[in-house]
Subunit: 298 residues, 2 copies
Amino acid sequence: MGPVHLSDTRAQVVKRLVDMLREAHSRGARLVVFPELALTTFFPRYWMTEAEAVERFFEKEMPNRQVQPLFDAARELGVGFYLGYAEITAEGRRFNTSIMVDSSGAIVGKYRKIHLPGHADHKPEAPFQHLEKKFFEVGDMGFRVYDVDGVKTGMCLCNDRRWPETYRVLALQSAELVVLGYNTPSLNIHWNEPVHLRTSTHLISLMANAYQNAVWVAAAAKCGAEDGFHMIGSSAIVAPTGELVARSVTEDDEVVVAHADLAIGDNFREHVFNFAKHRAPEHYRLIVERVGAGEPIA
Amino acid sequence: MGPVHLSDTRAQVVKRLVDMLREAHSRGARLVVFPELALTTFFPRYWMTEAEAVERFFEKEMPNRQVQPLFDAARELGVGFYLGYAEITAEGRRFNTSIMVDSSGAIVGKYRKIHLPGHADHKPEAPFQHLEKKFFEVGDMGFRVYDVDGVKTGMCLCNDRRWPETYRVLALQSAELVVLGYNTPSLNIHWNEPVHLRTSTHLISLMANAYQNAVWVAAAAKCGAEDGFHMIGSSAIVAPTGELVARSVTEDDEVVVAHADLAIGDNFREHVFNFAKHRAPEHYRLIVERVGAGEPIA
């Protein structure tokens, strides 16, 4: 998905999403993955109050009047979708959220982002902010797998894709497919990270975790420059073989499609990654007993 | 390391190891990583009794008379090394083991392989066996990090490198470097896996896990054909950026060297993979609560 600028309206954005849904359907797709915070610009790059962010960028209901055309198109075409958006609950809690919508247009799953990157404080010297830790709470629903039109589908969002725990918790629930949206700035505001690494580490994370969990992974980005702030794009579909089978190449709205044979994961699940035969959780305990890194165990 | 045939003696093998240690030292290396089961052929490919395997392929002591020249060379040159071998304990327990030896020639760490691949039964119809589950117990020491000449070094072996839990448990102990040896047959005896995947999944596993844990990874294989059984080779050194910085290209003994600036991991540890800031173990519990994959959590 190309950039969404501050001046773009929800109606304009939803029209683009519907157009891409229709194109995907015309090319045989049965499920479409849209980006994180797909309805607005990636607003955590701007310093503002929480109240202003909620007013401008958060959704109180889903679907709502503005997004309804996307749900209608999904039902009309019989195509499911994944969509990321900023959620404000009735209690005023704020999450970076995604939903799964099945081919009948019904919401069948929700995820609230757990690995929130960035910071909560104002960094006026930085070229832009990354305020996910200010605008969002850590998700409270865990990593869940949903039956979406018969496919065991796990969800995550953006930075989650760089954390192996994400995929493992989903694979331990027998996920066959992991879907995610993301927005990754091309510049790292914390240190002078070579730009190419932002893309290469994105791709190797998808590839290795797809393979190591015998799942398909479909990851959809916003790309291009939103009001001058460039993102890496590089939406990708990866097979359980760890192979990149489709990726975007433009800086604008673009549909990439792959035929995902779910059975490709079976050989990996039955042999090299037969978890029941080979895993040894008694030796993994530090993964849950520690948050940060510490001393070697004696 | 090139092939070790059934007819090769320990003395012949150790001479090759010493030659590679000397070449590595001449090229500036301070630590050398040798393969898994480096002293013998990869004997789990052959059906035999446990007693016969112990007699022919296991080490009762380490160092022993035959391996002592390698320890002597390490001390002489001031170069540490990692070495894999088959261990039989005084109680008769059998492990697929590796050790860390520091630059004084002292053993400063030991690891016993946890993720044993393959099977324990005889598969006479297969072109060869993969009997690690017959010849070895699951390791009983966990994944440990040792101070090796001032470098926080974690160890694992072969199939462990395809399991993200391995690296994470080591990174949670502040590992800066993960070293491992392996023997990977080019053919998969369980299903008709495309040969190229054996190598590509090896490399993406090293690259993604190095990156996701901000560690250097050095992985050393046996390569070429041992008595006609070909292995993938592809020894590799990977930086915390996820970048492959050195790899072997021949089918015989070959030394590849990289200058591993440990500080490269710092930016990743301080920002994107600042575990203390970003990890959420309350959402990772399935990793230790389940062995095999099960139903989605409600």
